[in-house]
């Protein structure tokens, strides 16, 4: 890709990495939360629900600030993580992963939750009569049946992570090679007169990558659907 400068290539690769890990890491958490929200009847359920939706409601910059206050070096969680595990988010690509995950979380959880709510509990009952414990029921019945929701949640999260900008740059800034994601680079180009051409190039790359992921997910979903509905 000789028409991409090294910094731009870095940004593309970083965005891919961030989006991938944001998606992968939020998957199990998202699934658990979706399950709790769909099935759980516990006090604080609506609180959790609200919390999950917060990144959607807040302007991204605000989310970024809140992340900074919480997960930054001097934030309560950030300090704990650093002291206990030596794990740092600030100015690291891991922070970008966190920001992208948080921003994509409501989308992922909603998709999964819708699917979980559509699962016929009678099938889970049938599994229980056949000796499956709750965990096994989840793994062997619920999980396969909500595959469409998982695929949808995953692709939404990935796409959102690819496009996330406001919270990321506020939380982990823009350090070329470390935290400069594709959207940050695009933003930078758009801030200088005449930078549109370069911005466009990067945007096209982002679109191509995301759409490839999207089409793959569609194929996957269709295959899952076919398996369930017959043949």
């Amino acid at each position: 890709m000789n028409w991409l400068g090294p910094e731009e290539l870095d940004a593309v690769l970083l965005s891919l990495r961030v989006s991938f890990w944001a998606t992968v890491c939020s998957l199990p958490v998202g699934l658990a939360v979706a399950f709790l929200l769909a099935r759980g009847r516990f006090p604080g359920r609506q609180l959790l629900n609200s919390l999950v939706h917060l990144p959607l409601i807040l302007p991204p910059v605000v989310t970024g600030y809140l992340l900074l206050m919480t997960f930054g070096r001097n934030g309560p969680v950030g300090r704990f993580l650093e002291d206990a595990f030596g794990f740092v988010f600030a100015f690291r690509w891991t922070g970008a992963v966190l920001a992208a995950s948080v921003m994509a979380f409501p989308l992922m959880v909603r998709a999964m939750r819708l699917s979980i709510e559509a699962v016929d509990p009678k099938l889970e009952e049938a599994a229980a009569t056949l000796g499956a414990s709750r965990v096994w029921i989840f793994l062997t019945v619920t999980l396969p049946l909500i595959a469409p929701g998982i695929v949808a949640g995953t692709i939404l999260a990935f796409a959102k992570a690819m496009g996330e900008f406001g919270a990321t740059i506020t939380f982990v800034a823009n350090i070329p090679g470390a935290t400069q994601t594709l959207p940050s680079a695009v933003y930078a180009f758009l801030q200088v007169p005449g930078g549109e051409a370069q911005a466009t190039r990067l945007v096209v790359i982002a679109i191509v990558i995301s759409l490839a992921a999207l089409l793959t997910s569609e194929l996957l979903a269709r295959r899952v659907q076919q398996r369930i509905s017959g043949t």
Binding site: N74, A90, G166, T170, N174, T179, V192, P193
Partner: protein
């Protein structure tokens, strides 16, 4: 209080001027009975909007480049452009902190971060890069620079202690309690920091002209100075 015959002037202004411009606009409204509406945003956004035919009567940019672009696009009333304000570039540190010599910055930083606006895109970042280059420090600190999409975000990184030092405008640094100004860059180290103002080629320029000349009046300029801005091109 909208009087009969009161008109509205819409100003597209760089977000960093909000505190000052809001006060001054309020005063003018009280004096004249006319209404000022100010849309704050990034200079790039504002310029593009002005070029796209936004209902703006006045454009106050934080960057000469974008004012140039607007002018080149024929969006401005010829001859109305005027460098309204200037600013100073400073180094801030987290918490109460003794003054430093900018030349010590690389040592003070060690492997920690220096917060700045995007050095190729945000005016404060561009000026900061020029200053550090002029001091011969840029190649040393460049890998440590954490860039943000606006100066306030850079300031926030310092305020939260995430980055020990940052390069911001004096106007931003002044009233923050969690940061202290530890050095002021010499004006000579970077291109002059100016906030050009121009009347936009939008129907009814008369009131815009009137407000523009109000802004340029000596009284108002001194008010701006009280609020931290310097005179434009105070540098050579």
């Amino acid at each position: 209080p909208r009087l009969s015959g009161a008109e509205t002037v819409t100003v597209f202004a760089a977000a960093s001027t909000k505190t000052a411009l809001d006060q001054i606009a309020t005063e003018w409204q009280q004096e004249t009975g006319h209404v000022v509406r100010i849309s704050y945003g990034g200079s790039a956004t504002l310029a593009r909007q002005v070029l796209a035919g936004a209902p703006a009567n006045l454009f106050l940019s934080a960057s000469t480049d974008w004012m140039d672009a607007a002018e080149a696009g024929g969006a401005l009333v010829g001859g109305s452009r005027f460098n309204l304000l200037g600013n100073r570039l400073v180094i801030v540190a987290h918490g109460h902190h003794a003054k430093i010599d900018p030349m010590d910055l690389p040592d003070l930083l060690q492997d920690r971060r220096l917060a700045m606006g995007l050095v190729n895109a945000v005016p404060a970042g561009q000026y900061g890069k020029q200053a550090l280059q002029a001091l011969g420090l840029w190649h040393k600190v460049a890998p440590q620079v954490a860039q943000t999409d606006n100066v306030r975000a850079a300031l926030a990184l310092v305020a939260s202690g995430e980055a020990p030092y940052g390069v911001v405008y004096l106007t931003d640094a002044r009233i923050s309690e969690t940061v202290s100004v530890v050095a002021v860059f010499d004006d000579a180290l970077h291109a002059p920091i100016v906030y050009p103002l121009a009347v936009v080629n939008y129907p009814d320029t008369a009131l815009a002209m009137m407000f523009a000349s109000y802004l340029r009046s000596a009284d108002v300029l001194s008010r701006f100075r009280d609020l931290g801005f310097s005179a434009p091109g105070a540098a050579k």
